[in-house]
């Protein structure tokens, strides 16, 4: 309750921190942004950090002794340190900068899995994965003749733990699952599932794209082996993300892309790789974006992830109740107390695309489609859904407007 109070108290201030939230979509139609699961909006502090880098510090990193290069390198590495601390990592060198969650998962597939998995080995995924946690494994499985099996999802939108136990009995080498579903909103009990996976000797990759932005995630407490997430879903810029893994794990992995920065010494025919994490960061990285990523972390720390989670949990409870009143609307996924602040739904008689379009007339930005989770939509036998995904800058008043606008959908189609 007091958490709620803290954010609500700051709410006016929070919204003012995001320049885009004051724009109108069309004259007289203010923006109601409910597509944060696709990408979040950015506070002034993040935009400013990137601006400042280009205006004041711009230089390449790790390869110059001049003042700007030194400054840029220090700032880049400081961002890495703050990100490491944010997820409870022991050391900054355990955080590898990537382009996004997708690249983080691909990095594990192409380096760790390609080296340590062999023909017939089993990888356990689930029916609720984002395509980015399916396709890299499909590609690798085809190349190395690996087996892929899938944890079933229940009608309520949760992992079928029985099917998980069954798969663990087959001794998988890797379990790669999402922490929070980007369609169902389900917060999966990954901590318990990691313990169980470790008992049978499997490593675990957690797709944190939808969890790290919205709740405290601590890699030590979770005891995960890999954690992948994107800056752009947590108030940061596009073009940068992170992969966390333990030092020993990263040391044992071969490099990913080849080129500058990832090497220690290059000969005409061979090279020796650089130390971690640089071994995985070939070429000039997204430097300005790292500054923005760091600023996003600072911003979230300032509010506190407990506060963010509490506020969103209250908001989604309100949202579930409000949407529950809309005729013919069916929300996918579990009850409010087991989900993050996103709600995907279907409406009788109206296609998701049409729903989204009609909401857009009132300035409400939601997403319609399969949300990069086609197998999950197949599982529920629906071609698509409409998704309203919320963040710390959304309000109850915006949810009220959503409900009113959904009423217009019903009026038109039913």
């Amino acid at each position: 309750m007091s958490e709620m109070y803290k954010v609500e108290n700051k709410l006016g201030a929070i919204r003012a921190d995001f320049p885009i939230l004051s724009r109108e979509v069309r004259p007289g139609v203010p923006l109601i942004y409910m597509d944060s699961a696709a990408t979040s909006q950015k506070p002034e502090a993040v935009i400013e950090a990137m601006n400042r880098y280009y205006r004041w510090t711009n230089a390449n990193i790790h390869r110059g002794v001049h003042a700007l290069a030194e400054e840029a390198t220090a700032m880049y590495e400081s961002a890495r340190e703050r990100i490491a601390r944010f997820i409870g990592a022991g050391k900054a060198r355990e955080v590898v900068f990537t382009r996004n969650t997708t690249e983080s998962i691909n990095l594990v597939a192409y380096t760790w899995a390609r080296k340590f998995l062999s023909k017939g080995d089993l990888i356990v995924l689930s029916e609720m994965e984002h395509h980015s946690n399916l396709v890299p494994w499909q590609i690798l499985a085809a190349e190395k003749e690996l087996r892929l099996e899938f944890i079933h999802v229940t009608d309520e939108g949760e992992f079928d733990q029985e099917s998980y136990q069954g798969l663990l009995e087959q001794h998988p080498k890797l379990v790669s699952i999402t922490h929070v579903s980007n369609v169902l909103g389900t917060i999966n009990p990954v901590k318990e599932m990691i313990v169980q996976a470790h008992t049978v000797g499997a490593r675990v990759l957690i797709d944190g794209a939808q969890s790290v932005p919205h709740m405290p995630v601590n890699v030590k407490e979770l005891d995960a082996d890999f954690l992948a997430f994107s800056a752009h879903k947590m108030l940061g810029p596009t073009g940068i993300g992170a992969l966390w893994a333990r030092e020993e794990t990263l040391e044992a992995m071969p490099p990913f892309l080849g080129g500058g920065e990832m090497i220690k010494r290059v000969y005409l025919r061979t090279f020796t790789p650089n130390e971690i994490p640089h071994k995985f960061e070939a070429g000039t990285p997204a430097i300005a974006e790292a500054m923005g990523f760091g600023a996003a972390i600072d911003y979230l720390n300032e509010i506190g992830m407990d506060t963010v989670a509490a506020y969103e949990s209250d908001l989604v409870k309100y949202g579930m109740e409000a949407l529950g009143q809309v005729k013919g609307l069916r929300i996918l996924g579990p009850a409010a107390d087991r989900r993050c602040a996103l709600m995907a739904f279907t409406m009788e008689g109206a296609h998701p695309h049409d729903v989204a379009q009609i909401l857009d007339m009132d300035g409400i930005a939601v997403r319609a489609g399969h949300h990069c989770a086609m197998p999950l939509h197949d599982r529920y036998n629906i071609p698509a859904s409409t998704r309203a995904s919320l963040y710390l800058y959304n309000t109850r008043a915006e949810i009220d407007q959503l409900v009113i606008s959904l009423g217009k959908v019903n009026k038109l189609f039913n």
Partner: protein, 133 residues
């Protein structure tokens, strides 16, 4: 923007004249729009003079794609296959009577794309079938 859901569109979406399948048929083609999962199949019967005598479409999707299919089939009934080959994006937009952004344009043009791929006897439908010359 408000005109997007003109009455004629909603009406053809809710109560299409040509929904169903033709068995037997002379031409049948189906395709989908991967972006939104719209899926449409079009069946045609053609007489010996190349005239279209029966039409039907089946599938699922948004109001724009479904009403576009219904209106389009209505308009080609009695036309010859050669006439159908000449249909363009502009013809579909005339039928719908609305203006569309790039995303929804794909929905609107999916039926024409399928229809033309069918009458040309192509293996695969391509966007070039509905692009302006």
């Amino acid at each position: 923007m408000d005109d997007l859901y003109r009455e004629v569109i909603i009406e053809h979406y809710k109560n299409p004249d040509h929904r169903g399948r033709l068995d037997p048929h002379d031409i049948s083609f189906e395709d989908e729009n991967p972006l939104c999962g719209d899926h449409i199949r079009i069946d045609l019967r053609v007489d010996e003079d190349g005239k279209i005598t029966d039409v039907a479409f089946d599938g699922h999707g948004c109001a724009i794609s479904q009403s576009s299919a219904d209106l389009l089939l209505d308009s080609v009934l009695g036309k010859t296959v050669d006439e159908v080959k000449k249909l363009t994006k502009a013809d579909v937009l005339d039928l719908l009577g609305i203006e569309l952004g790039p995303v929804r344009l794909k929905c609107a043009l999916l039926p024409l794309k399928i229809l033309k791929a069918g009458v040309y006897g192509l293996g695969e439908a391509s966007d070039s079938l509905v692009e302006d010359e």
